[in-house]
């Protein structure tokens, strides 16, 4: 089947009543999670992942996509109304958004955020459709040596996600690699570090570890503090309007932020939290009304929100085609894929193309749900953003336990989840990086198999690792991967400074 008919049938499959209902629900849940300060998009996806186990893979993935997009937008609601970004991705939105709230224009700020998120998300689907299939074609050419380099390239992402302290990031990554060696040795069939636990035969389950690292640890962090009421959300009239003139004024900003967000999404290591600052800053640089910035500029809100939502579609590309997640949310999504028996890689675009294109179509449709839910439900979500930790903590705990049990109906996994909860808590206390641990766990086996299989094929001659042009391309990417986060980090810091001083 050619791409066009696959696209069409994807939409037909995605438009079933069940799928539509799930899109609406998951987007609403995503927005809720997003606007709750302290709950990130990665955590939301990890928590809701077990709910999708029994479902059709496409429906399950659409739900996860809905939560992802919803949460990234949802963060802007609390950023605008209570000056507390619900997720780090909306940190830049708070700058202009809250100023608008103070001026009594909360409704307008929310409308702009919602509209920009919608455009950013929708446009990011374009690149998903265009870039994912050719990249998957390329992945067909990957043999064992290439997979080794690919995983190494993925590991350079650690340098990126850990821009606070590269040393601690690398320590986290090594911890992940070590954990990934637990279980059966892939080449010799010898048990490693299993301590007689037969449930560890297939290694530590990544999803289980994810729930522990991202969700369980958050409970511990929340429980550590005294529970205090959140600030009152600003009152506002539910009047959402955006004139044609304003849309016209915003469109260059939105398009610029789309491109920025998309590229950042595809690049490993940088996620929505960086995109929002760059998007915001570029919006100001090119604005004709620079004086409005800092006092509540709609362009500032749009620049940040379009960029962070444009990351979503882009970030799916390397995960789906190469099995290399660029940041924490896609790492969790990848866990979801694997649980549904789908291995990321070229097969998703050949054998499972039907499912993949249904997911893509669902991803497009989710953007529309986000627009409607965002426009109609802002007032309600404003109240949710004040939900007390006294309710949040037990609810998340319940979901963590049920979720980790549901993966394999195995109590041992609940224990593993708890252990990773404590690890996650300590990791945050020591400023290490949970995402780097997950990347180590995912990429470790890919790299190990790639390297050992290559050497087995070549009778131990390492020159096989440098034998094809693709190998050299990947080596070049590794070098770039190590250097780019350093540059990115400098850029982000500069922009943050500018944003604050302006």
């Amino acid at each position: 089947m050619d791409t066009l008919s696959l696209m069409g049938s994807g939409f037909l499959q995605a438009l079933t009543p069940l799928n539509l209902l799930m899109m609406a629900l998951s987007t609403a849940v995503g927005v809720t999670i997003g606007c709750l300060p302290g709950l990130s998009a990665a955590m939301g996806v990890a928590l809701l992942l077990p709910v999708t186990f029994g479902m059709d893979p496409a429906t399950g993935l659409i739900i996860l996509g809905g939560i992802y997009c919803g949460a990234i937008f949802g963060g802007s609601i609390s950023a605008i109304l209570i000056h507390t970004p619900g997720t780090p991705a909306s940190a830049a939105t708070a700058i202009e958004g809250y100023q608008m709230t103070l001026r009594g224009e909360a409704a307008k700020a929310l409308t702009v955020a919602c509209f920009a998120s919608f455009c950013g998300g929708l446009l990011s689907c374009v690149s998903l459709y265009f870039f994912a299939p050719p990249l998957a074609q390329l992945a067909m050419k990957f043999k064992s040596p290439e997979y080794f380099w690919l995983s190494l390239f993925g590991l350079t992402i650690i340098a990126g996600v850990s821009s606070k302290s590269m040393l601690k990031g690398l320590m986290s990554g090594v911890l992940g690699l070590l954990i990934s060696t637990v279980g059966m040795d892939p080449m010799e069939g010898v048990p490693r570090f299993m301590f007689g636990q037969s449930s560890l035969y297939n290694g530590v389950d990544v999803t289980c570890a994810l729930i522990g690292l991202f969700s369980m640890s958050q409970i511990l962090i929340l429980a550590e503090k005294k529970i205090q009421p959140r600030p009152q959300a600003a009152k506002f009239k539910t009047k959402f309007e955006l004139s044609g003139k304003e849309v016209k004024r915003l469109s260059p900003t939105i398009i610029r932020s789309w491109i920025i967000g998309n590229i950042i999404g595809i690049l490993p290591g940088a996620g929505a939290s960086i995109a929002c600052f760059i998007g915001y800053n570029e919006a100001r640089r090119f604005s004709k009304r620079k004086d409005e910035f800092g006092k509540g500029s709609i362009e500032g809100v749009a620049g940040s929100e379009a960029a962070n939502n444009a990351v979503t579609g882009g970030s799916l590309i390397p995960m789906l085609t190469l099995g290399i997640p660029g940041e924490s949310v896609t790492a969790v999504l990848m866990g979801g894929l694997i649980i549904h028996g789908l291995q990321p890689g070229p097969e998703l675009f050949s054998t499972y193309a039907g499912m993949t294109y249904t997911f893509f179509a669902g991803f497009v449709l989710v953007q529309f749900f986000m627009l409607f839910i965002g426009m109609l439900g802002c007032k309600g979500f404003a109240q949710i953003s004040r939900l007390s930790d006294a309710i949040l903590i037990p609810s998340i705990f319940l979901l963590c336990v049920v979720g980790s049990y549901a993966i394999h109906n195995n109590v041992v996994e609940v224990v593993i989840m708890m252990i990773f909860g404590v690890i996650g808590f300590l990791v945050r206390k020591f400023d290490m990086n949970a995402t780097a641990i997950v990347l180590g766990m995912i990429l470790g086996p890919i790299g190990e198999r790639g390297l050992r299989r290559s050497l087995m094929l070549s009778d131990g001659d390492p020159s096989i690792l440098f034998s094809t042009p693709l190998c050299w391309l990947l080596i070049a990417l590794c070098v770039l991967g190590v250097l780019s986060p350093l540059l990115m980090d400098r850029m982000e810091r500069k922009m943050r400074e500018k944003a604050h001083t302006a």
Binding site: P57, P186, E188, Y201, N409, N410
Partner: protein, 316 residues
């Protein structure tokens, strides 16, 4: 009218058994030792959904994956033998695990009910390989002992097959383990290895069409298989002379009363002969091969002997 007939038919079959008739009292748990969505699981679900009308109760699939089946099967043999819990076993994996020194179960711990599916092993090469026949492969490998074969894991089913071929052909080769059958065949298609052993259903989509990617050189059977009528068996070529492949069937824990086993044998026999079910299996690409409890017991015995005598020596 149809319903009436069904009732009548049911009554006729049920009457002679009435004296010792047993029926499940509630939902029946079916243990599947692999994860939801895996090959084993898909096959089990197709059969279970068709079998419900003959069993009269809901069949609940309970996936207990991990340790290549060990976890689920250990649970299965430790279940209450009251007929409310049955399960699927995979051959040769079950028997080869059962003969390992650290085995948590043996073939005495289960009571066979019926075989469900069988898959015959095949030898495949890339379509552009110079080897046209199995003899070409054996002759070439005898001269140069470092041709490479991809397998689906260390001592996994397809590794055993490659080993059987090499031993019977009197050649050496290098087995490279890949995670599963899909990866194993991808490596063959990419030309990373020279040949591979897999199962009929795995290679079927890759050998047909205008541009076949693989070529089948031989099958591990005593008679030619209907899917490849032109491909000689290894026995014909003077190589390994028995059937080798995989099978999946239903068993109950040891101690399950004979009337319960009888009930299930009849129920699954009826299900597997049902045209609707045959159609459903065809659609899913599953090669159904019903064997009653005695035939299946024989297969398990044979596989056990194979695991003890042949397989353990294969890797020495």
């Amino acid at each position: 009218m149809k319903k009436l007939f069904a009732l009548l038919a049911f009554a006729l079959i049920a009457t002679p058994l009435a004296a010792q008739a047993w029926e499940p009292t509630g939902d029946v748990t079916v243990i599947v030792a692999y994860k939801a969505g895996s090959g084993t699981d898909t096959g089990a679900r197709v059969l279970a959904s068709e079998a419900e009308k003959n069993i009269g109760k809901t069949l609940v699939i309970n996936n207990l994956p991990g340790a290549d089946g060990k976890i689920g099967w250990t649970q299965l043999i430790n279940s209450k033998p009251d007929g409310q819990t049955i399960g699927f076993i995979n051959l040769p994996t079950f028997t080869s695990l059962a003969t390992k020194p650290d085995a948590t179960f043996s073939i005495e711990d289960i009571v066979p009910i019926a075989n469900h599916l069988t898959e015959t092993g095949v030898v495949v090469v890339p379509a552009n390989s110079p080897w046209q026949t199995i003899q070409d492969l054996v002759n070439a490998a005898k001269e140069k002992p470092d041709y490479k074969a991809s397998t689906n894991g260390v001592e996994a089913s397809n590794h055993i097959a490659a080993q059987l071929l090499a031993k019977s052909g009197g050649f050496d080769y290098k087995a490279i383990p890949y995670g599963g059958t899909a990866d194993q065949l991808l490596a063959l298609r990419q030309g990373e290895v020279d040949f591979s052993c897999a199962k009929v259903a795995d290679v079927l989509p890759l050998v047909g069409g205008e541009k076949p990617e693989l070529r089948v050189l031989g099958v591990f059977a005593e008679e030619r298989v209907p899917e490849f009528p032109n491909v000689p068996t290894l026995k014909e070529s003077g190589l390994y002379d028995k059937w080798y492949g995989s099978a999946r069937g239903l068993v109950a824990p040891k101690g399950t009363p004979p009337e319960v086993i009888d009930f299930y044998v009849q129920a699954f026999k009826k299900t597997m002969e049902d045209p609707a079910n045959i159609e459903a299996h065809k659609k899913a690409g599953l090669n159904m091969n019903f064997m009653d409890n005695q035939q299946f017991a024989k297969l398990i015995q044979e596989q056990d002997a194979f695991a003890k005598e042949v397989a353990n020596d294969l890797f020495k």
